[in-house]
């Protein structure tokens, strides 16, 4: 059923919540547990602004199981303004519209549908900025 697996990641998935270092201000995404020996309180939850630029992109035409109804879909590495890079789909974006360095913004969308007896998995995607 994969219920808990998706549930425990909801903050990062739904609202791009990563972590910020209380001392250096460094922002990281995705959030991670403290390293062995690292103080628990060094990293605090931090919601990233959701703006960034396309580092690279591709189009998935041979999808994995669970994504058969989506192709062709755009996937990208996005360099967020705060520094971290994330992997995500681009949405509301034509295949010939995207380019490296294109500014994008985060939206929360359906990532996949686990069927009539399963969850709808929601999470971040990116799209060209709506001004």
């Amino acid at each position: 059923m994969d219920l808990a697996k998706h549930w425990r990641l909801r903050h990062a998935r739904y609202r791009l919540e990563g972590q910020r270092n209380r001392f250096t201000g460094e922002v990281r995404f995705p959030p991670a547990p403290p390293l062995p020996g690292e103080r628990e309180d060094i990293w605090e939850p931090y919601i990233l602004k959701g703006r960034g630029r396309v580092y690279s992109f591709s189009v998935v035409r041979q999808p994995p199981e669970g994504f058969e109804d989506q192709p062709p879909y755009l996937v990208a590495l996005v360099r967020l303004d705060e520094g971290p890079m994330v992997t995500a789909q681009l949405t509301d974006c034509d295949l010939d519209q995207v380019a490296i360095d294109m500014p994008v913004e985060m939206v929360t969308r359906r990532l996949r549908d686990l069927g009539p007896t399963g969850l709808i998995v929601y999470g971040y995607k990116f799209r060209p900025i709506v001004s």
Binding site: S56, S58, P63, L77
Partner: protein, 384 residues
């Protein structure tokens, strides 16, 4: 630590083996590697398989194969490290023999991918990405390679066409390999006109996942010379890892694990980059080969594609690559690739590679990779 040698190799043809089980493939390869040596002399069995748990839905594959080989009771362990499984299994065998724990170790790489349909196979392969932060977005390994290819093109000013020499070389070499899945040559025009799989990657720059098994028999120095006329030494052996997710790395176009494992293996072999005469790397796409060569120190950054264009990767070039056809023409046997590499490079060092023979090859490098540069195993083979 004792010196470690390869004294036997075996492999099945790579392809769609509809009528055969993983055990059947494994036993054919294992039998070939044993030659006239009885299976009962195997001290430990290392089975590499990336997908047996997810596609064949069988865990403890090593016990299954030990039983099929008629040696139930032997120490047998299954190794899973994605596409690096074969190299990592070989590394474990080397450690066991070098440490003196066993004198004879068998490494078998086996993959059976055709029992499921495409989408399920793509999903299983994508398990080598970070499932929570990559695969959940519908990203495939092919798509991640495509992202790297596009960025590489952007950084260094190449076109997609510039990568064609990699699959062209792989297919040209595959013609000579009786075990290769695709034994025909392809042209730049065909590569260019192939349908897209994940832009900018076209169909003819994408390997095909296929069934197959390969095996190598590892022996201690004393036993190697007793049992084999032309033992090949494993002079260097190293594995390293990087972050599971590509996006977590400061520079996605640099494979730190490849750099580390190549440097460690060369250091262990007391050899330098210029000593290596023939290569095999995980090369499902041209970009994969290019980044492996660059990260391992065999080409300056941004130059591997230019070198390929100039013919350096052909059997007559400076960096002969994929002489057995590579992932593209031999067929991509995922967790078994790392063992097939050894089988093909041993043939090179023994001068048995026929028309793809690299003249005077005495030092070979095999490098296999799990995921996108996540786990990398590098081995240096030498002829003494």
């Amino acid at each position: 630590m004792r010196r470690v040698y390869i004294i036997g190799t075996g492999a099945t043809p790579v392809g769609e083996h509809w009528d055969r089980s993983p055990a059947s493939l494994a036993i054919e390869a294992l039998t070939g590697a044993l030659g006239s040596i009885p299976a009962s002399r195997i001290g430990a069995l290392y089975v590499a398989s990336a997908l047996s748990g997810t596609l064949h839905t069988q865990s403890q594959m090593a016990a299954l194969i030990a039983t099929a080989a008629g040696i139930p009771g032997v120490e047998a362990v299954t190794i899973e490290a994605g596409g690096a499984s074969g190299g990592v299994a070989l590394r474990q065998a080397c450690l066991a023999v070098a440490a003196g724990a066993v004198d004879l170790a068998m490494v078998v790489g086996v993959e059976k991918v055709t029992d499921v349909l495409d989408a399920r196979r793509e999903a299983a392969l994508a398990l080598a990405t970070d499932v929570d932060w990559e695969a959940v977005h519908g990203v495939t390994l092919t798509a991640l390679w495509a992202l790297l290819m596009r960025r590489y093109m952007h950084e260094y000013g190449y076109s997609a066409d510039d990568f064609a020499p990699f699959p062209i070389n792989a297919h040209a070499n595959g013609v000579a390999n009786p075990r290769a899945m695709y034994r025909f040559a392809i042209t730049a025009e065909k590569v260019r006109n192939a349908p897209m799989v994940a832009e900018p990657l076209g169909l003819l720059d994408c390997s095909t996942a296929a069934d197959g098994a390969a095996a190598v028999l590892i022996a201690s120095e004393g036993l190697a010379h007793e049992l084999c006329a032309t033992p090949v030494r494993i002079a260097g052996s190293a594995t390293a890892t990087d972050t599971l997710a590509l996006h977590s790395r400061p520079d996605p176009l640099w494979f730190q694990a490849a750099a580390h494992s190549a440097a460690s293996a060369l250091r262990m072999a007391r050899l330098t980059h210029s000593d290596v005469q023939v290569f095999d790397v995980t090369d499902p796409h041209g970009i994969a080969a290019a980044l492996a060569l660059e990260s391992s120190g065999f080409a300056k950054r941004g130059t591997a594609v230019a070198l390929a264009r100039e013919g350096a990767i052909t059997p007559k070039g400076r960096l002969p690559l994929a002489t057995g056809g590579g992932c593209k023409a031999r067929g991509d046997v995922v967790g078994a690739n790392g063992v097939y590499q050894i089988v093909e490079l041993v043939a090179q060092l023994r001068g048995q590679a026929g028309v793809v023979q690299v003249n005077g090859a005495r030092v070979a490098l095999a490098q296999c990779m799990g995921g996108i540069g996540v786990t990398v195993a590098t081995h240096i083979l030498t002829l003494e």
